[in-house]
Amino acid sequence: MEGLIGKKVGMTQVWDATGRQIAVTVLEVGPCPVIQVKTAAKDGYVAVQVGFGSQKPHRLTKSAVTRYTQAGVAPCRMLHEFKPDAGEAFAVGQAIDVGMFDGVKFVDVQGVTKGRGFAGVVRRYRMAGGPKTHGGHSKNRVGSIGARDLPGWVEKGKRMPGHMGSVSRTTQNLTVVQVRKEDNLLLVAGAIPGPVGGVVFVKKALKKG
């Protein structure tokens, strides 16, 4: 299996085998029930659709609830498709737990970053802003956005104030520190995108084995 759906629980620290301190993010990963198995013959591509979390049935459409009942699974909050590894077979209704990350050294974690609302350029693009002292009147302002006569307009893609955050981002190659099957927890070294409680997709590292 390529990965699973999880939730960010928070951050803490653990001691590694040599006694060094590691800052870790605690992720609640799975168990994810299989809702649908997509095959090349029927769907044109191979994938396993899994769910995560619980959802009240009255918040779903009738057709969605039927999908879950047919799969024999309680309604889920989140659905996502992952590619199965070669030779792996999954059955509908089967739950995949965090044990699949046993022996995996690195993972990529995809989440939605914290929303920052409408942010200025100093915060959004780390521009320097104007002078903070000597009577500066433009401490947080954009400054010049282009020359006057040449080209005579503001260049396309000019970085300006606007909405910041709430975008999907992936942190790659995070070291797996612990896999705790009894609590469905995965501990990865370092920070991941998104707030505590945010839903994340945890995948085996794409670029690092």
Partner: protein, 115 residues
């Protein structure tokens, strides 16, 4: 709020018997040091001038000593497996939680009143 799951992890990484010392104590911190395959214990003796983090798993304490005329401070994680033990040699009567004012003082003025 700390989630229950994190609480459980923190409990595992905490020492069975918490170190016992107070701010202002003159302590000898026994630190395990690994050099290649060999492991030995080094003692850092000084005054506890601060402790941060309360009873949390991430708590630390700061020990200050004058080494060859130079003030040296080390911050130790309370629950670090490298810390074997902390011996308390002397306790002092102090009136604040952080003794950062000792940094400005030298010689006789840097002494603390005995408890």
């Amino acid at each position: 709020m700390i989630a229950k799951a994190i609480d459980k992890i923190n409990k595992e990484s905490m020492k069975q018997e918490p170190l016992s010392f107070k701010i202002g104590d003159s302590v000898r911190v026994h630190v395990k040091i690994k050099e290649g395959d060999k492991e030995r214990v080094q003692v850092f003796a000084g005054t506890v001038i601060a402790s941060d983090g309360g009873k949390a798993a991430t708590a630390t304490f700061t020990v200050r000593r004058i080494s060859f005329g130079v003030g040296v401070e080390k911050v130790f994680p309370v629950n670090s497996p490298f810390i074997e033990k902390v011996e308390v040699e002397r306790s002092a009567k102090i009136r604040r939680a952080k003794l950062y004012y000792l940094r400005e003082l030298t010689g006789k003025k840097a002494r603390l009143r005995q408890a």
